[in-house]
C-alpha cells in the first residue's frame, strides 16, 4: 500500500504511523521532519513551503516506487505539507513497514534523502527581520 499526500493542513502524525504495517510486518520505521527554531545561526519564526503540486506528487511517487523496487516494503506513507508551517510542526512524515527492520530503515532514509534532492518544493525561512529562500539541501 502506497499513500502519497500533499496538504496544507497540519499532518496527523498518529494517523500516518497507524496506517503503516500489516500482520506480517515486524518493523515500522518513521521519519518526522520538523520545523526548527534556528537555521545557520538565525532565529526562525516560521517557514513557508511553495510547491509545484502536480510534479511534486509525480516525483514523490517515483521515489516511493524506487524504494519498493529496492526493498521489500509492505506499506509506505509519505505526507508533505506546504504553505506556512510553525516551529515544531511537521513538514514531512514518512512511515514504511517491512517484514524486517533493516529494509524499513534503509527505505525511509532513501525516501527522505531523495525527496530532498528532487521533489519540487521550496522552503522560505522567516526571521524577525526578513526572510530568505533556501536553495538546495540543508
Amino acid at each position: 500500500m502506497k499513500t502519497i499526500i500533499l496538504q496544507q493542513e497540519a499532518i496527523d502524525i498518529v494517523h500516518v504511523i497507524r496506517e503503516a504495517g500489516t500482520d506480517s510486518d515486524g518493523a515500522v520505521v518513521s521519519f518526522i521532519g520538523r520545523v526548527r527554531n534556528n537555521s545557520n545561526g538565525k532565529t526562525v519564526l516560521h517557514l513557508e513551503y511553495e510547491v509545484y503540486s502536480q510534479m511534486a506528487r509525480i516525483e514523490i511517487q517515483k521515489v516511493v516506487d524506487d524504494a519498493y523496487a529496492r526493498w521489500s516494503l509492505s506499506t509506505c506513507v509519505v505526507v508533505h505539507r506546504y504553505g506556512r508551517i510553525g516551529i515544531g510542526e511537521a513538514s514531512i512524515v514518512i512511515a514504511a513497514s517491512a517484514p524486517h527492520r533493516k529494509e524499513a530503515f534503509q527505505a525511509v532514509q532513501y525516501i527522505i534523502d531523495t525527496v530532498k534532492e528532487r521533489v519540487p518544493i521550496w522552503k522560505r525561512e522567516f526571521y524577525s527581520n526578513g526572510s530568505s529562500w533556501i536553495h538546495g539541501k540543508d
Binding site: 513551503y49 525527496v115 530532498k116 518544493i121 521550496w122 536553495h135
Partner: protein, 81 residues
C-alpha cells in the same frame, strides 16, 4: 507554437508571474526560452545557482526541445522535506 511557462520560488519573484503563455518558434529549446525571458525579466540574470527545468512535470536538460502546448517549469534547486 504556444507554450506555458510556470515559475517557482525565486524565479517566480524575479519574473513577477507564476504562469504565462508564450508564442515561440517551432522546436525552440529550453535554453532559448530562458534567453528570451532574460531579456524581458532582467532580474533573472542576477539569480546565482543553477536553474532547473521540467517539461510537462518531467525534469529535462536545457537543450531539450519544446513542442506545441508544452508546459515548461523553471525553478531553483529544491529544498523540500
Amino acid at each position: 507554437m504556444k507554450i506555458r511557462i510556470k515559475t517557482f520560488a525565486t524565479i517566480r519573484e524575479a519574473c513577477g508571474f507564476e504562469e504565462k503563455e508564450l508564442i515561440v518558434s517551432e522546436g525552440i529549446s529550453v535554453k532559448e526560452v530562458v534567453q528570451q525571458l532574460k531579456k524581458s525579466y532582467r532580474q533573472l540574470n542576477d539569480l546565482d545557482g543553477a536553474l532547473l527545468f521540467a517539461i510537462n512535470e518531467e525534469y529535462c536538460h536545457d537543450d531539450a526541445a519544446l513542442s506545441d502546448d508544452d508546459t515548461l517549469a523553471i525553478f531553483p534547486p529544491v529544498s523540500g522535506g
